[in-house]
Symmetry: C2
């Protein structure tokens, strides 16, 4: 294999030039505003070309020695301070001419984008405003036109989030240590859309599964009977691991 930086393109065995890539990572970061029952996504106002002054998903280019997941976490840490989160790879877009930068001064270098989706706790997620870049939580239902193909990416991430929620216990990664069953229900309802299930049925189904333990502690929120705080019991959940399990 020829060395790096030879002026000629690298050829494979059958003499076809290989493409050179920079790799970007874009994150679809969701959170749930339980007060207003809205699903939010984190957007960044771009300051550079291409798509300057356009909202976009937060992204970065992968650095030397950095894994894809490292890069995904780095984006998070540069934009928000969070404790609880769930992160998972989404999809990879890599067609030529996807990124306008390929046409400019790139000299044949292509841009490939690996996307991740994340779910974080809204209450604890503190946005890092650097005074230069615009950054904001947008209700998913009201996102404007985004840069690149980010609208599609968001749609794809949204679908994936909905599936994850139905089939795996992501919710507990993002809920406080102790929570009421109504907190849990609201989380499901705002992500999956209303009418996804009756509250009392949701309740009994989950309790019957047996991995939610009642702490006995009661909390009162305004009028009404106080609610029990529950805790997710990871040990009791273990047998369900990797099993198709439907929560709704």
């Amino acid at each position: 294999m020829p060395g790096r930086n030879s002026k000629k393109p690298v050829y494979s065995l059958n003499q076809q030039p290989l493409a050179d890539f920079k790799v970007g990572v874009d994150n679809v970061i969701f959170s749930v505003d339980t007060a207003q029952n809205r699903l939010l996504v984190l957007l960044i106002m771009r300051q550079q070309e291409p798509f300057s002054n356009t909202w976009s998903l937060p992204g970065t280019l992968v650095r030397q020695g950095e894994s894809l997941e490292d890069a995904a976490y780095r984006i998070m840490s540069e934009k928000i301070r969070v404790k609880n989160l769930y992160l998972e790879q989404l999809y990879t877009f890599g067609g030529p001419n996807r990124d306008p930068r390929e046409d400019l001064n790139s000299f044949g270098v292509r841009y490939l984008s690996v996307s991740y989706f994340a779910l974080v706790r809204f209450e604890e997620a503190e946005l890092i405003a650097d005074g230069v870049t615009g950054i904001a939580w947008y209700p998913v239902k009201q996102v404007p036109q985004l840069a690149f193909d980010h609208n599609e990416l968001l749609a794809y991430g949204h679908r994936r989030l909905q599936n994850k929620l139905e089939y795996s216990p992501v919710a507990f990664d993002v809920l406080p240590e102790m929570f009421t069953l109504n907190d849990l229900y609201q989380l499901y309802a705002t992500i999956l859309g209303d009418n996804f299930s009756d509250y009392s049925n949701f309740r009994s189904r989950l309790l019957k599964l047996g991995f939610l333990s009642d702490t006995g502690i009661k909390v009162s929120r305004g009028a009404g009977r106080p609610a029990s705080l529950y805790r997710f019991d990871a040990e009791a959940f273990a047998p369900f691991k990797n099993k198709p399990l439907v929560f709704i």
Copy 2:
């Protein structure tokens, strides 16, 4: 942004050098040997370092002007001649030091791998033996130690195939135009493992869904009552599109 092939690494705004990538595509290609009821995967005997003389999943490096999916299809067309197939992106591996080539004469270039999984018709898939490279269908249950992290990749692809089968009509992409319900049942049984469902229940469930149309044509295979040939009716299936639909 600095031009290509400058001797210095490319720096982003905050002076961190970006990684340069070559992008590989690896395919997990499945087929079903209905005669012997075995799920097969296509393996290639590597001829080059690293992992020379080791079985591996068929792969290639992405060329200039070629999309990821193009590359995935190119792998297929270089190894087998197929008509019916289903292809879908799987996962992207991109950690540093994943590929031993990065240590050799790569001078900092990293190798990222985007994997695809495919399902093809075994009967029509004609392997292209070039006399040099070993190529073979291996029963999934008997695959040996593979190059790179390909065993994990295969396991991941297998799980994804099973899910796909349960929730979407992939089977019909890979079945002949007309097929008996037993053909369909066997396909499901060999991929999902036996005891996934009773035959007669599988039968009535699918027929009730209403997107399989009886052609009236009968085929006799040895002893026993002749079976009806059915056809997948894409129009009748349309309403189920994107809906969670369980076949098993």
